[in-house]
Subunit: 391 residues, 2 copies
């Protein structure tokens, strides 16, 4: 396969977009990304979205958004893997360009969640769980992560303060991200004094319900040579961000079926496969955009992906290793906690944010880097999708 | 890209599966396909499904079904393009294997629709339309196809009798398909006397609401050489059915935005691209599994794909050209009308049926063939996905 790179990015500010429809959010991000890449025509569009059918009454987002953007009859589909939908769309876009099937592909993650009442959102988000064996009992996604948190604390892996450190870090990084929903710092005390949502998870540990869309343009690094489409495979990008590793892995969808629920096997496997594909090791990774659905997800992801030993993921939060100047910076632009978690869009926001870091355009949040890893998880990490990006 | 082939197929009989869940339907088809291919382990799973979230309260079908089938942590995602979801999943599976990213992939289309009340199904099916500009006015998918039919008759392209011929042909072919929902012949008179559903479309012209699942195993034709996975890339298949053409195209999602609503531009474009990829012309195609959502869809697909001139698609029905012994047999195993239309599964049923024909295992419905074309459409052909298959 040839080398595919991100050559354009576009992000919509994450917030409550009550006056903007699903298609408009997608359009805005795609327009920005296409402008950034200097392309007018594209060959394929991959949409990452989880809840368009349930919350916006709209399936068939590939054709809809392609049409709305004025692309003329191109290949377009939607890819879904619960909260990992954005990463899943990125994976398909990557395969499409890397295989040579298409030359210029746009991957767009979009989600609109705030235009319906909260119970519908909570139910929607829980459709990524096992509906017959988990959801049917009345448990929600937040409740399952709460149970994981309890177990983690029970096993002596951390204190609530350690976990709060992930929120403090994310909110601090959100200040420097113009697209973030929450751009203010919080203290660990404030986190630990906020109301309990699902014991022991507190309000300030939950990602906000929000709307958003992000897009990236993918193209081959080598623009000379044979291409499939009639148009020239041209783009304008001083710093193409190469995707050198890409892997999807799954695990039992139900937490109850896992040998050790505190081990995210999907994260472990997809990280290993993506690193192997990129010929990299953990120590080569300069930053790690993990999927901080809740602090426990961040801690367990750090462990499963090999950046911390089992039971020691939260220590990286406590010790400041996850900060911008730490050994393994995470959620460098605010993550789910501060940027927000427009579910199916999250994986594409991660890609855009990592591209900003690797291009050296991350402003106040800039870290010194040449290789980054992004990863999103679906449900309680029944799916994990990892990409390695390099300049 | 290397050549990918279908090396195993599995189908569940299409009917009202009130006692079988979505995951069980998928499992049964995948088990059959894996057995047929002689494989135990696979590397990736692509699920084609439209309405799991709306009708079964279950998203995240990639991880769910992979888990339920006992595949150990493999790559798994769901792909959606309304009623073309099955074809969209086949396209991703094809790219995955042809690119060399994965060695053995299963594509499974699954849909469960009969376990809810009819109004929910009708609303669900209409989510493939433009929800803001079509659905919001109260129009359904059937109503839009009815308008197309009226216009087609108004322009003098056919009589209602001509269109009924597509149903007569499909039902006749359904008799020989053990997986078909309706295995009895109907006469044109019966079709034209059946109750009007959406004028001029009559009950016996509508595909039944039903449940079903079909799966195909994809693998490279050459099993020697470098492969990505640890297991041997081995399968047992006397007649691998090569996928030599694959193309997705889209059109305006709303009928009102099309220059000529009687021209399915997406079908035209995806057929042209798939044929070009396979280095084939229309006359090389021995049979054409088109997506007969309604008779008008069959007639317009025949025109757009170049098997009939504009306005003359229905003539192929009238003249018997679409019969098993005709010049361009369509819906050779019953199509949507007789086999049934488990929406997101349809494209994979088509692939399995075409494989049966090309292997010479189509029983009483066998036609002499070496090259077939399958095609599914999403919404009112806002998406069209075409594959060319050869032995």
């Amino acid at each position: 396969m040839r080398t595919a790179a991100i050559v354009g990015i576009g992000q919509v500010a994450v917030k409550e977009h009550w006056e903007t429809s699903l298609r408009d959010l997608a359009y805005q991000s795609i327009k920005e990304a296409a402008k950034d890449a200097g392309v007018d025509n594209i060959d394929a569009l991959y949409i990452g979205n989880m809840l368009g059918g349930e919350l916006s009454g709209q399936e068939h987002l590939g054709a809809l958004i392609s049409d709305y953007c004025g692309f003329n009859g191109i290949e377009a589909v939607r890819v879904e893997a619960a909260s990992a939908s954005g990463g899943a769309a990125l994976r398909q876009g990557f395969l499409s360009v890397a295989s040579g099937a298409q030359d210029i592909a746009v991957v767009c993650g979009v989600e609109q969640m705030t235009d319906v009442l909260q119970d519908k959102v909570t139910t929607g988000l829980s459709l990524g769980l096992d509906s017959e064996y988990e959801l049917a009992s009345g448990i929600s996604s937040t409740a399952l992560f709460a149970m994981l948190t309890k177990r983690y604390i029970h096993e002596g892996c951390c204190t609530p303060e350690d976990l709060a450190a992930f929120c403090v870090n994310a909110q601090k990084n959100g200040v420097g991200n113009q697209y973030a929903m929450f751009r203010r710092e919080v203290t660990a005390e404030a986190v630990l004094k906020s109301p309990v949502v699902a014991d022991p998870i507190r309000a300030l540990e939950c990602p906000p319900v929000c709307d958003g869309a992000a897009a990236v343009v993918l193209a081959p690094v080598e623009t000379e040579g044979n291409h499939n489409q009639n148009h020239d495979c041209k783009y304008e990008c001083d710093t193409p961000v190469k995707i050198t590793g890409s892997a999807v892995a799954t695990d039992s969808i139900g937490l109850d079926n896992r040998k050790d629920p505190l081990v995210f096997e999907s994260v472990k496997k997809s990280t290993q496969n993506a690193l192997a594909m990129a010929s990299k090791k953990q120590e080569d990774i300069d930053f790690y955009e993990l999927h901080d659905l809740f602090p426990i997800a961040a801690a367990l992801s750090l462990e499963a992906s090999g950046f911390a030993k089992k039971g020691e993921g939260a220590l990286l939060g406590r010790n400041g290793d996850i900060a911008l100047d730490g050994t393994i910076p995470v959620t460098t632009m605010g993550g789910c906690k501060a940027r927000g978690n427009p579910v199916g869009a999250c994986g594409v926001y991660q890609a855009a944010e990592a591209a900003l870091q690797l291009r050296g355009e991350a402003g106040k949040n800039q870290i010194e880097c040449s290789t980054g890893m992004i990863q999103c998880i679906g449900g309680t990490a029944a799916t994990a999708i990892t990409h390695i990006m390099e300049v």
